[in-house]
């Protein structure tokens, strides 16, 4: 993307290989980039991905630090487009 990422949008880490638990399933093509979830997330692990423009023409939200997501589902609760499926972290999984 040629557009410079605003300061509030952090660069995304590379995806870890192997079985990393991913608490969120995000329908990228339904996200409208409203950022209500970004503001609602207590550990601030959600951010819009400036590297993607989805089918609706928005930068969709991504989970940028899965390890710190607590599956609190406040993102799902505030999302007007119901893009989130939230999974509880199984206890056996190391962070």
């Amino acid at each position: 993307m040629a557009v410079a990422a605003p300061a509030s949008r952090v660069p995304l880490p590379a995806r870890a290989h192997g079985h990393a638990f991913h608490p969120l399933d995000i329908e990228l093509d339904r996200c409208k980039g409203c950022e209500l979830c970004v503001g609602a997330c207590p550990p601030a692990v959600l951010a819009l991905d400036p590297g993607i423009v989805n089918r609706l023409g928005h930068h969709p939200v991504r989970l940028i630090d899965p390890a710190r997501c607590t599956s609190c589902a406040l993102c799902a609760r505030i999302c007007p487009d119901a893009v989130f499926t939230v999974y509880a972290r199984p206890r056996e999984t190391a962070r």
């Binding site: 399933d25 990228l28 423009v53 007007p80 999974y87």
Partner: protein, 271 residues
């Protein structure tokens, strides 16, 4: 290729418990609502509540005129379109001939508190066993951002460019408080979707409003304070902030009347 999903069942462990999943009663489409629009949240809450209560298969819903005119594309329910403001009358017609149906009217602030004032007042006065979801964002979104009866004093809209002036445009209408005075109203409450905590409380109000129809056969109305980021000239997060900070001074949150939990309510004081 642009990914369409992030995460997904293949990356979660198979035995992971689902904490939240998109409700089944929401259609599998993107809505036309603007980014951050409160209608999306309210639709989602309705889908969750109707699903939780098992009411989907017997719901007949009435769609308004306003941004939510296409609500029937977004919720998997039998729907009838009403002319602007007439949803409570259409709902009355449905209610009187379908005693076993769950009857829902979904309206915005222009629909309910401007052009439809006679219809909502009389449906409430008759105590029609319907549940009214009243989405109040203080503006006429669909037609481009004009003043609504619930627009705040001083608020700039395209028909109050200098800010709403009470001398010429009157005062914001507390329609739900007015309805709560009527003996035919079983439940009247106001919630908000400003933040997740408010959303959670709003869901409980919607659920109670549905229960009042089912269990008590009474009229129930839930007003949900909502946002219109585009109409308000704000980002979605700014709009949510404004909703949380500035709107409740004019439209306080709470339950105005729940005649079945408090048979002798004290006027319109929210609890």
């Amino acid at each position: 290729m642009t990914p369409t999903r992030d995460g997904g069942p293949t990356t979660g462990l198979p035995e992971a418990r689902v904490v939240y999943r998109r409700p089944d009663l929401l259609s599998d489409v993107s809505t036309h609502y603007c980014p951050g629009c409160g209608h999306g949240i309210v639709h989602r809450l309705l889908a969750e509540v109707l699903g939780d209560l098992g009411l989907g298969p017997r719901t007949i819903a009435v769609a308004p005129v306003g941004c939510a005119v296409l609500a029937y594309d977004y919720l998997r329910l039998d729907f009838v379109e009403a002319p602007h403001g007439r949803a409570p009358a259409v709902a009355t017609g449905v209610r009187r001939v379908r005693p076993d149906a769950f009857v829902l009217a979904y309206q915005g602030d222009g629909d309910l508190a401007a052009i439809g004032t006679a219809e909502i007042v009389h449906a409430a006065a008759r105590g029609e066993a319907i549940t009214v979801i009243f989405v109040n964002n203080g503006i006429y979104g669909m037609t481009g951002g004009q003043m609504a009866p619930t627009t705040l004093l001083g608020q700039r809209t395209t028909s109050t460019p200098g800010g709403r002036d009470a001398r010429t445009a009157g005062y914001p209408l507390p329609i739900t408080e007015m309805l709560a005075l009527l003996p035919g109203v079983g439940y009247a409450a106001r919630g908000s979707i400003a933040d997740p905590s408010s959303v959670g409380k709003a869901k409980a109000l919607i659920r109670r409003a549905c229960e009042v129809q089912v269990a008590e056969g009474a009229f129930a109305i839930v007003e949900i304070l909502s946002t219109c980021p585009i109409g308000w000239g704000m980002t979605p997060r700014e709009a949510a902030r404004h909703l949380a900070d500035d709107v409740p001074a004019t439209y306080p949150l709470g339950v105005m009347v729940d005649r079945f939990r408090d048979p002798a309510p004290a006027g319109g004081t929210p609890r």
